[in-house]
């Protein structure tokens, strides 16, 4: 922000009543040799919900972090409510009324939900101790905003480490809301939320808008953007390319601005094939919250797992992969009984698991992109010597098939944008050549183009005889890709949808139980 070097964040002159909430002009940001932003521009009016869209790695998170004081801009100027500012730390931005939902979450796993939400702003007694009663009560009031959609176990004293990815996302949302900001930036805050949670979240955002709060909303789900937002700014390769009124545009035009033309995959229609013998059969398996789950998946089939978030879909996938124990029931692979006690057993049998919870399950933090790509292949192929010469081109090929954007394979994984990190973790498992692919909300954070590429690839895999089990928090994605859907509720399968019942109406009705 060299344009206004003489202006400190504090003390602030009286607010100019007419200035927009955020005005970012010509923002440039370089990380060493990598230019993340070449010309970031964003103008957000007061009391507006403003979408910020663009493909993975185009600079949305970087721009957000500059506005929130986490990164310093290399050049450019930033005005908040008409006043030029230069934030040196997130705390200064917070003092100016700005709060950011961090795409990769800013939570501390070993601390409680309450401690996380009020971190650095704990209510205190007069003696300076944490006022636990108030801390708990205020946290409970915040959790109540999400009502019963928050799911079991989201209490003020629960440890964040013990929550589901969706619940962690809710905690990060509540942390932002608890600061009562005048300007909020939601960087893919809905990525792991189910339809019901998204609805509650949008109601909250609309209520805040009515109270004059300005919101920047980042999402790869265009339906959400068009349902919620007033204006939209589109970015491409670190540059802002458009600023439009939502009413004056449509989804196709926005997609074209973001990434050019995308081939729309449409609904999967299954080629008639002779019914193959099932690859995997589960007979009344249980453990943790799971009860009596019986299912079979055949080579070439894509089996969807539906229902509200946290009803046992992830638990089942993790159980099948040996990451969490399945304590009851039996598994058969190719008709033979198997026990999968640990992920190593699963990998040895050709099972791969792609998790959407990349921070907890996938990232080898601080290691290179190459190491992150190679992790599963090295286990699968029992390699004790890494022949980078042969392995690297192969892995780079898989990563390229998903259009992963990175500078060099030796760069640290943390330098990638959220969506590009997720592509690396998908490629990690595709490279093992699995027979059974378990997908646990795999598209969390990846853009429309990459999503289309991923599902084209997954259909190809299915056609070549791989069995696939897919859970997605996004209903349309599930309906488009699955041959059949098992709907989960409370850790059990309540219905199977296929053929004529495979539609949004039946899926919603089954997911909500008899209430809907």
């Amino acid at each position: 922000m060299t344009g206004t070097p003489e202006t400190p964040a504090l003390p602030m002159p009286a607010p100019t009543p007419l200035g927009p909430a955020i005005e970012a002009r010509d923002i440039v940001k370089r990380f060493g040799a990598v230019q993340a932003l070449g010309n970031g521009r964003l103008t957000v009016g007061r009391g507006e919900i403003h979408a910020l869209l663009g493909a993975n790695g185009c600079g949305k998170s970087t721009l957000s972090k500059i506005i929130a004081g986490t990164h310093a801009a290399t050049a450019g100027s930033l005005l908040i409510e008409g006043r030029p500012v230069r934030f040196a730390t997130p705390r200064e931005a917070e003092a100016a009324g700005i709060a950011l939902f961090y795409q990769e979450l800013s939570l501390i796993p070993p601390l409680s939900v309450a401690a996380n939400i009020f971190l650095g702003r704990e209510p205190r007694t007069r003696a300076g101790f944490i006022d636990r009663t108030r801390l708990r009560a205020e946290t409970e009031a915040l959790i109540a905003l999400f009502g019963d959609t928050a799911g079991p176990g989201l209490t003020p004293d629960a440890l964040v480490a013990d929550l589901t990815p969706g619940q962690r996302q809710i905690v990060e949302i509540l942390k932002v809301l608890s600061k009562s900001p005048r300007i909020v930036i939601m960087d893919e805050a809905t990525a792991a939320l189910d339809a019901r949670q998204v609805a509650v979240f949008f109601d909250i955002l609309r209520a805040r808008r009515a109270a004059g709060v300005s919101t920047v909303f980042i999402s790869h789900r265009l339906d959400e953007v068009f349902a919620l937002c007033d204006r939209v700014t589109v970015m491409r390769n670190g540059e802002t390319v458009a600023d439009l009124c939502i009413a004056d545009t449509d989804q196709d035009s926005v997609v074209r601005l973001m990434i050019g033309d995308v081939r729309k995959a449409g609904r999967r229609t299954r080629a008639d094939r002779p019914a193959a013998a099932p690859l995997l059969q589960a007979d009344r398996v249980g453990g943790g919250r799971l009860r009596d789950i019986t299912l079979a998946v055949a080579p070439g089939e894509i089996l969807g797992l539906g229902g509200l978030q946290g009803q046992g879909q992830s638990a089942l996938l993790r159980g099948l992969f040996g990451a969490d124990p399945l304590t009851a029931g039996r598994l058969r692979l190719d008709g033979q009984p198997v026990r999968i006690r640990a992920p190593a057993d699963a990998v040895a049998r050709g099972i791969a698991y792609v998790s959407g919870d990349r921070v907890a399950d996938a990232v080898l933090a601080g290691r290179s992109i190459f190491e992150n790509l190679a992790a599963a292949v090295l286990v699968r192929e029992r390699r004790w010597r890494v022949g980078a010469g042969t392995l690297a081109p192969r892995l780079a090929g898989v990563a390229a098939s998903l259009k992963t954007k990175y500078a060099g394979l030796d760069d640290a994984i943390g330098t990638l944008s959220g969506g590009n990190q997720q592509k690396v973790f998908i490629a990690r498992w595709l490279a093992t050549g699995p027979r059974l692919l378990l997908l646990d909300d795999p598209t969390k954070g990846i853009d429309l183009g990459a999503k289309a590429d991923l599902f084209a690839l997954i259909r190809q895999l299915a056609d070549s005889g791989v069995a696939i089990i897919l859970y997605s928090s996004e209903e349309a994605e599930l309906l488009d890709q699955s041959d059949r859907i098992l709907v989960f509720n409370g850790g059990a399968v309540v219905t199977e949808l296929s053929g004529p019942t495979l539609d949004s109406f039946h899926l919603t009705r089954a997911a909500y139980g008899d209430a809907a």
Binding site: R91, S106, I108, L111, K175
Partner: protein, 322 residues
Amino acid sequence: MKRALPSALSALPAALPAWAITAAALTVLVIVNGLLQPGFFDGTVLQSNLTTFLPLVLVAIGQTYVVLAGDIDLSVGAVAALVNVVTVTVIAATGDGPDAILAGLAAGLAVALACGLVNGLLIGVVGLQPMVATFGTAILFSALALRILPQAGLPVPDAYWQTYGGAVLGLPTVLLILLLAIGFVALLARRPFQTWLKAVGGNRGGAFQSGLDLRRIRLSAYLISALFAGFAALCLTGETASGDPLLGQSLGLGSVSAVALGGTLLSGGVGGAAGSILGALLLGMIGNVIFFAGLPFEYQTLVQGLIVLAALAGGVLVARRR
């Protein structure tokens, strides 16, 4: 995971904290020691044992805060030595009345804080690796201690060690110090500061994004650690009644072991100083039992190492069941 563990362990309540094994081991050792050593539960024997254990307890308390923030302080032993020689030198130079003793104590603690400030600035502000930086400053502090007092000597006035070995306000001084330390631990546990430390150790990036001032928090932890090393040095001075530039060399790794035994994760973010007190007492009791069991000296370190490993492994197993 569950099936692989001994069934006895699975039968324990799920909420068992990681320091429970340490507490159990400590209880067993207290009983064994009571059987081996006649009069173990007599007041004077307890007091003399506490006198032996107290320095490590204090250093371990201070070390906990550094470890919670994801850092480590290997310089505590050298800080203790430096404080000891500064204190005895200042007392010797000022006379031998109560004023001289107070001046010595104040000078010692001021030096401790200065050491903590050096560590905290190097690590929290300059950004050096904690392990390397405190290893380096330890050498520096030791060298300073040797420069000030090249050889052990300089006895302190009688009033110093008599007060330390005696009683204040009707309580044995060592017990009073322990109670004050426990009070400090209990108070700090309820302040936001301890949550911030855990945040810094649990997810440093997240702590920064949450608006915490990482520099100040990490620096404060090093100040506390050095201050407690200073207290430990003043206690050791009361015990040995003189200066020794090579004092306290086992305090560094000893305190880290005590912290780990007390259930604080060395990677930071989880734990508390109450466990470290148990851990330090356990380490002390191990030495005691080995001595009274009449084990040859060569085996003492071996057995001590084995017990520490067993307690740590037990703690890990308990923690992993969750």
